[in-house]
Amino acid sequence: MTDPGLIRNFSIIAHIDHGKSTLADRLLERTGALSQRELKEQFLDSMDLERERGITIKARSVRLNYEAHDGKSYVLNLIDTPGHVDFAYEVSRSLSACEGALLVVDASQGVEAQTLANVYLALDHGLEIVPVINKIDLPGADIERTRQQIEDIIGLDGSEAILTSAKEGVGIEECLEAIVARIPPPKIGPSTGTRALIFDSWYDSYEGAIGLVRVFGGEFRRAMKVRLMGTGKDGEVMRLGHFTPHEQPAETLGPGEVGFIVAGIKTVADMRVGDTITDAENPAAQPLPGFKELKPMVFAGLYPTEANQYGALRDAIEKLRLNDASLICEPETSQALGFGFRAGFLGLLHMEIAQERLEREFGINLIVTAPTVAYRVRTVSDALLMVDNPTHLPDENSIEAIEEPFILASIHMPEDFLGAVMALCEDRRGLQRDLKFLGQKRVILHYELPLAEIVFDFYDRLKSVSRGYASLDYEFLDFRAGPLVKLDILINGEVVDALSIIVHRDKAYERGRALCEKMRQLIPRQMFEVAIQASIGSRIIARESVKALRKNVTAKCYGGDITRKRKLLEKQKEGKKRMKQVGRVEIPQEAFLALLKVGE
């Protein structure tokens, strides 16, 4: 067990491309955690998908041993955090496990948005922030201006920033010394019992759920009986240890330490991020604060492009859920698409990641339908129904009111962007609640907004109108009745249920026109004309058509061409498998998500 006074728990906050992963690699290298040879580029982002998108989805931790200039040996736990609003909760749990953070700012780019959102979050959690100005070797580096920005935009003392070039290995020692000197050790207060915070968990096919934890009090040992205070599950510690980043088994995890625990808990749904793990025989009186069960915000249908893939899809979703407690799934059927599932996600990014993993890791050709929020419908007989699939909206005559979820959005930004951000919120049917100037030209804006307006492209639009400087956080408020209508899309006169959406009446025409237009672009020309219509009830509000394909014939086919020709035809047929036959019309996968592409 390590003396808590010699432990430092920290995370790294950085804008994408500002060098977080390179700096982390250098810290690992300098402390001998990894040899040069082992340093696969960007060790932290180990999932392929993460590396491709340059984002961190799941948290990670690495324990570093560092002999400081004061002659003492410290244990530095680097806790990595995800970086997207869909995963804001995971970020907050990771930050709760730390006492401090390095804020990495690119010397040539200056302070940027993603940074701000997480800096505010870190400040909220009372973390000590150590600014690091990175990439000082670049020709465009402007260290003084960056220091000034750190003071003006964030309100930290820019003169105390550490100067580094992670690429060149400059300033790494100074970083490590600053972590030791400036970030406080874990506070071990009066005993509140044996408690550890789970800030990440994942599924292993041999061991079940593995939790990544930060111990706040007491000590966890092998063979100890433990309890998860939120889910109420009991287990027995089978294995515990650290990541260095290689797995190192340990006998105990003591106060202030970070490590993993395997406790015979079967699924991640029973070992949830944010939950508190305690000694089952002598449980803590109170769990650590902040645990909440994540509720899905966005719902969409998942269907196999080929009906015979249904079983494979079901198995794949089950496997995915072992590792993703926030993904929920129920079987459903669609007239157009057949058997599939209705799935709930934290947000669009979460949805896209699930889709990509199902396609890539499980090899399933998938159709994802237009995402929607869950509406509450009050019927004339005064019943309340939750509707997360527009097709299931009851008949118009039996509806008293349709209520949609509203959220309270908190948007942080430099005041220069206030006008643009307010215009965006107004356009999205927002109601301003208040506006606070925080000094240093920073503003925090609170808006009540329909969730439906947020989940689609609000975050991207916000980033775009604020040149990336605005940050968004939101919480659920209530359900509010509004003039909402169901918009149907008809292909060659037939309603395609999987394409129906619920929209605000004032936006229905615009949305219908944009959808038809987008569908026209996405549906390839076929052997006959394809009519695309948008309707509300029996009223057609928009129409487009895809003209029939006039000509599609290979001019030459002689002795040497036949094998190649046959292979081309086979390939063409493979391509068709990625289309869904609805009636006589072949609709490509992307067309079912046309709603999301309307702005492109």
Partner: protein, 382 residues
């Protein structure tokens, strides 16, 4: 059963930017050596299954530019073919020629050597289009070549035309048809220009330097060709081929009827029934390697595929459907273990309902609309 022989001559004076055949621009070519290699391969194939003892019904010299070779070389090859297999008395023997590479003496020589059908790559009669297509000849040379071919005793003459060239108008296409028919060939091939991977045009297209005509425009040109050539006595018998009665290219019918052929020369493909199955194989593509391999071991096979029953049925259908007359369902069931309905019934009825395929009096063939969308139809059979 009699079969067809294809002989590939891979050399050209210039490589056309749309051409994806196995051909190489060269200032000099090893004519004697290459001819020796072809003869060696013929001897070797004549001595082995599956063609030993079978006679030749058609021979086709394709390229490349076979007319670059001397009549003596062509003659030597025909002698070798006669020794190896025997050539039927009525055999069709075609040679592809570039109008810019022939003169009276040469055409006379080819005729005397036994060639009885000439195919000229006319492509167009419009100088701007010929230039765009990178052709080394002009319209005047095409006219002269056709006249010389007639005088040299070639009763059978084909002209190749290309339409849907960027910049080409419907009027240009009509003018080409007019000009070609005026030269009185007995056969005209009219090809829609395509942009094949590996060609200069393909690269130009990718980089946005050229733009293909709109699909609708191409369709209109194809419709014009299908109307205008028959009006001048050239009946359409295949997707891109038109002939006077009885003057269809018998050699090419072998391919479309899914019958056996032997290809010799660099990169040439062959197809034959072997035992119960079908097999297709092909030669080394690079001429120098082809020559070296053949001179060492008599053959230069570089690849092969066994075509299973399903793929055979697919090929039979999509090749035969290229023909205007399609095929007889009895021929299908005679050839395979299943009837056409058993093999493809569900898809056939859909295509018939969509008006793309016609089933009449025991035959299956494409409708006019089906012709225009032939690839979409064919895709239903793989």
């Amino acid at each position: 059963m009699a079969f067809s022989l294809y002989i590939h001559i891979p050399y050209c004076q210039a490589k056309c930017p749309y051409c994806d055949f196995n051909s190489y621009a060269a200032a000099f070519w090893p004519e004697a050596e290459y001819t020796r290699a072809l003869i060696r391969e013929l001897e070797c194939r004549g001595d082995a299954a599956p063609f030993r003892g079978e006679r030749l019904k058609t021979i086709f010299f394709g390229g490349g530019t076979p007319s670059l070779f001397a009549p003596e070389s062509i003659g030597a090859l025909l002698h070798a073919a006669e020794r190896a297999f025997g050539i039927e008395r009525e055999a069709e023997i075609t040679l592809e020629a570039n109008p810019g590479t022939v003169d009276r003496a040469k055409l006379g020589g080819f005729r005397a050597a036994g060639v009885n059908r000439i195919s000229f790559g006319a492509q167009s009669f419009n100088p701007a289009i010929l230039k765009f297509l990178g052709r080394i000849h002009d319209a005047r040379q095409t006219r002269a070549a056709a006249a010389m071919a007639h005088r040299a005793g070639f009763e059978r003459l084909n002209l190749d035309l290309i339409f849907a060239v960027p910049g080409q108008t419907l009027a240009d296409v009509m003018h080409d048809i007019e000009s070609a028919a005026a030269l009185e060939p007995d056969h005209i091939s009219s090809y829609n220009l395509t942009f094949e991977e590996g060609t200069a045009f393909f690269t130009d297209l990718k980089r946005g330097r050229i733009k293909p005509l709109a699909n609708d425009e191409q369709a209109a040109m194809y419709a014009a060709v299908r109307t205008e050539l028959p009006r001048r006595g050239y009946a359409m018998y295949e997707i891109s081929n038109y002939a006077r009665p009885g003057r269809e290219a018998r050699h090419n019918l072998t391919y479309w009827r899914h019958q056996a052929y032997l290809g010799i020369g660099a990169g040439a493909h062959s197809f034959a029934r072997i035992g119960a199955g079908n097999r297709r194989w092909w030669n080394e593509r690079i001429p120098a390697r082809y020559i070296a391999n053949v001179l060492e071991s008599g053959i230069a096979e570089s690849g092969a595929e066994e075509i299973d029953a399903h793929a055979s049925m697919s090929e039979f259908v999509f090749l035969n459907l290229r023909l205007r007359e399609g095929f007889a369902e009895a021929d299908f069931s005679g050839r395979f273990a299943a009837s056409f309905d058993e093999a493809f019934g569900d898809r056939v009825s859909r295509l018939v309902e969509s008006g793309l395929l016609i089933r009449e009096r025991g035959r299956v063939f494409l409708s006019e609309r089906g012709l225009e969308l032939a690839d979409s139809v064919f895709a239903q059979f793989v």
